[in-house]
């Protein structure tokens, strides 16, 4: 929210009628500023005030939705330059290019890959969202055939790419209900493509040769009633494209410059012929402000790290990722395998499970829900002490899987070993290493 509670308060009726649900207008203003309530909750606010407040409180970078259903994507809506200042809101969409000049078999392979390439991590499904369909052939019929095929075979959100309004219109006729992103309005075709976007209520990308020209284009589009805009500065050299991303974000956030207050679209696909380098360019734009990132292709070796990077950068710094509580099996287990306990801070889980794997000693890893807190923090907060660990050990089902009754606890909660032996009769509590890196050596010498 770009406006303070006090500024909002000035525009409210100041009657403290309470009909909005909070007792005073000032409290209401504060809730508005915090994004907790909507202005519509006040029945008495004047039209003039409404217009002013909407203008002033509109997010500095407009959130834009593309597509419908499961793979619908929301980009933009960012409020900070650096993730530590608050958090990044909407991860950039990843798009795979398909051209209408590709042979049918290649299109099929790409659609298949798009469908297959998804990954589970910390209970989240990581996958790309978009297919960018490009009209290279110049032939309406070919483009429509491609769009129709994709529309039927894939649930991807779609980007239609052509600078010719009539070709875009043809493609759009085959997938309008999917609310594709139209790419792109340029200074040559602005009116026709703008018309197309308005008529079909589709988001629209504007492409220019410079940021100045881009601002002019979005200004014209906004005046014609189009709000959902995605912007392409046209730069295709790494340095210029990178700089443009920084400038766009700064102009929107620091200067409240509306004409650039939109999510961007960037094209690693058009910046190099080397797929490895393309992946690094994409990685750059994941961290630095890309809204939609268009790749020439998706391959597991580059898509997987990109998706994980994206998840990492867009994790809320105030809310660490947590792993689901339960028993995690590592390696070829037996009833004699060691049982280790850790917290559910996902980073701890990754490190501990990775080190158990590195040890080549199969083991059961018991992950206790500590609300995403690390071992020491959870312990200090009373969320990782004997009285909460013991019931978890009893009910998690590990007693059915191993014959022995030996539990390895993190070295940092050694103080809980006495309490645990009391709460878990029959169990031997063993104090493991403090550092993950020492787990392999510990496990190699461990005997049931």
């Amino acid at each position: 929210m770009a406006i303070t509670g006090i500024e909002i308060f000035k525009w409210l009726p100041k009657t403290n009628c309470g009909e909005c649900g909070v007792p005073t207008c000032l409290a209401f203003a504060m809730s508005l500023a915090a994004g907790k309530m909507e202005l519509a909750a006040c029945p008495y606010v004047s039209e003039e005030a409404k217009a002013k407040l909407e203008e002033a409180s509109a997010p500095p970078i407009r959130p834009v939705s593309i597509g419908v259903g499961d793979r619908a994507l929301k980009v933009g809506g960012e409020t900070v330059m650096f993730r530590h200042e608050k958090r990044f809101e909407n991860p950039p969409g990843l798009a795979m290019l398909i051209s209408d000049t590709m042979v049918a078999a290649e299109v099929d392979r790409r659609l298949e890959r798009f469908k297959e390439l998804e990954y589970e991590r910390v209970g989240m499904t990581l996958r790309p969202e978009l297919l960018a369909l490009k009209a290279d052939s110049g032939d309406d019929a070919k483009f429509v055939a491609l769009v129709t095929k994709v529309e039927q075979a894939s649930d991807a959100s779609i980007i239609l790419m052509s600078e010719k309004a009539d070709i875009l219109a043809a493609g759009l006729s085959a997938c309008a209900q999917r609310k594709p992103l139209l790419y792109a309005a340029t200074k040559e075709n602005l009116d026709q493509v703008g018309h197309l976007a308005r008529q079909n209520s589709c988001p629209l990308a504007a492409k220019a040769a410079s940021l100045e020209e881009l601002a002019q284009l979005t200004d014209r589009l906004t005046q014609s009633g189009i709000k959902d805009i995605v912007i392409d500065s046209g730069a295709r050299s790494l340095r210029q494209a990178f700089t443009d991303q920084l400038v766009i974000r700064r102009a929107a956030l620091l200067k409240k410059f509306r004409p650039l207050g939109f999510p961007s679209i960037v094209f690693p696909a058009e910046m190099t012929d080397d797929p490895m380098k393309e992946a690094l360019i994409a990685a750059t734009f994941v961290a630095k402000y890309g809204g939609i990132i268009v790749m020439s292709d998706f391959q597991g070796e580059s898509l997987f790290p990109l998706l994980v990077e994206r998840m990492n950068i867009f994790t809320d710094p105030q809310r660490p990722l947590a792993t689901t509580e339960g028993i995690y099996e590592i390696g070829g287990l037996s009833e004699e395998s060691p049982v280790l306990l850790t917290c559910n801070f996902s980073l701890t889980y990754f490190i501990v499970s990775g080190e158990v794997e590195n040890s080549k000693v199969p083991g059961y890893l018991l992950v206790k829900d500590t609300e995403g807190l690390s071992v020491m923090t959870a312990w200090a907060a009373g969320k990782f002490s004997a009285d909460v660990i013991a019931p978890f050990i009893k009910k998690c089902g590990i007693t059915d899987r191993v014959k022995h009754r030996k539990l390895i606890i993190p070295g940092y909660i050694a103080a809980e070993s006495g309490g645990l032996e009391e709460e878990l009769p029959g169990w031997e509590i063993m104090v493991g290493p403090r550092e993950g890196a020492h787990i392999p050596a510990y496990l190699k010498s461990w005997r049931p």
Partner: protein, 315 residues
């Protein structure tokens, strides 16, 4: 529609430090703006990449990481030479894994002799990285410092628990210390203050914020580095105006995602390329957050990151 590029009023500058000695010494730091923000500041020295050499044959490296060093992994001197001669390394980092008390536990004298041989075999700047065991690192790095005087090594990790003795030795023999703290801006600042109070000159300090790779908490390192740079450049925090070094290769190549064979999980793609990209992309993320020196492993990952640095810094 004309508009002015909104610029930041920077009030600080990163200190320049010279690494190594002789003709192939390198300078890093000196920036007056955020990383690669060349439209509003300078980056007089590009970030540099040091190639890793292990002082004992590496265990459990995936094939993709071993293959470029076939035949030299049991000889640190030959390995270091290969890095420089075949792969054009502009710096080398000797990882003293053999000294780990939980591992081979090689003695200080023996380990230091190996460092000396490597230092004599190459002329590029040499980083020497211990095992983060305070007692052992104190013993080993002090011996190394003495044996390699005049070579202007970069030594670490130097932590709050062992900075006094290693720091004193670095002052005496003119080496640079790697001030290492666990992903925390305040601890980083505090250690720099302690090193300053001890008498370590500013131009002999480089910050190690402790880093990890993609999927293993890189976002923590990323944000701590961004905060360090913000404090240094925009908030006049002199005690954070130092270059940053990131020991990233070992963090990426030890993960299970890098070790899974292509046929084991086809959705993860080609194992070799995946390993290279996990390393290179992690390095890229750290560069964007402010890395001045990256410690890397695979020649292709290094080549890719060098290209990126080149394109981001030259117009």
């Amino acid at each position: 529609m004309a508009f002015d590029i909104p610029k930041i009023d920077y009030t600080g500058r990163i200190k320049e430090i010279k690494l190594g000695s002789g003709d192939e010494a390198l300078t890093v730091g000196g920036q007056s703006s955020y990383p690669f923000h060349l439209f509003e500041g300078e980056m007089p020295h590009p970030p540099r990449i040091a190639m890793e050499v292990y002082d004992s044959p590496p265990e459990e490296w995936p094939e993709a990481a071993l293959e470029p060093f076939t035949g030299v992994t049991d000889d640190p001197v030959a390995w270091a030479k290969k890095c420089v001669n075949d792969y054009g390394a502009e710096m080398v980092c000797l990882q003293l894994v053999s000294t780990d008390p939980n591992g081979l536990d090689r003695g200080a004298d023996e380990a230091a002799e190996v460092v000396k041989k490597v230092a004599e075999a190459i002329t590029v700047p040499l980083i020497v990285w211990g095992t983060a065991n305070h007692d052992k690192d104190t013993e080993v790095l002090r011996r190394v410092s003495e044996l390699c005087q005049g070579r202007k090594l970069i030594m670490g990790p130097v932590e709050e628990g062992d900075y006094k003795k290693i720091g004193a030795s670095a002052i005496g023999y003119h080496h640079t210390v790697i001030a290492s703290t666990p992903i925390d801006i305040n601890l980083a600042k505090q250690l720099n203050i302690l090193l300053g109070n001890l008498g370590v000159p500013d131009e002999q300090i480089i910050i190690d914020p402790t880093v990890s790779g993609i999927g293993y908490g890189i976002e923590y390192a990323y944000s701590v580095m961004e905060r360090i740079r913000m404090a240094a450049l925009a908030q006049q925090d002199e005690k954070l105006q130092f270059p940053i070094i990131c020991n990233i290769a070992r963090e990426t190549w030890k993960t299970k995602e890098v070790k899974i064979a292509t046929e084991e999980d086809p959705k993860l793609g080609d194992a070799r390329k995946r390993g290279i990209l996990m390393e290179a992309m992690s390095a890229m993320v750290l560069l964007l957050a402010g890395a001045d020196v990256l410690i890397m492993r695979h020649p292709e990952a290094i080549g890719l990151v060098r290209q990126m640095i080149g394109e981001l810094t030259t117009s």
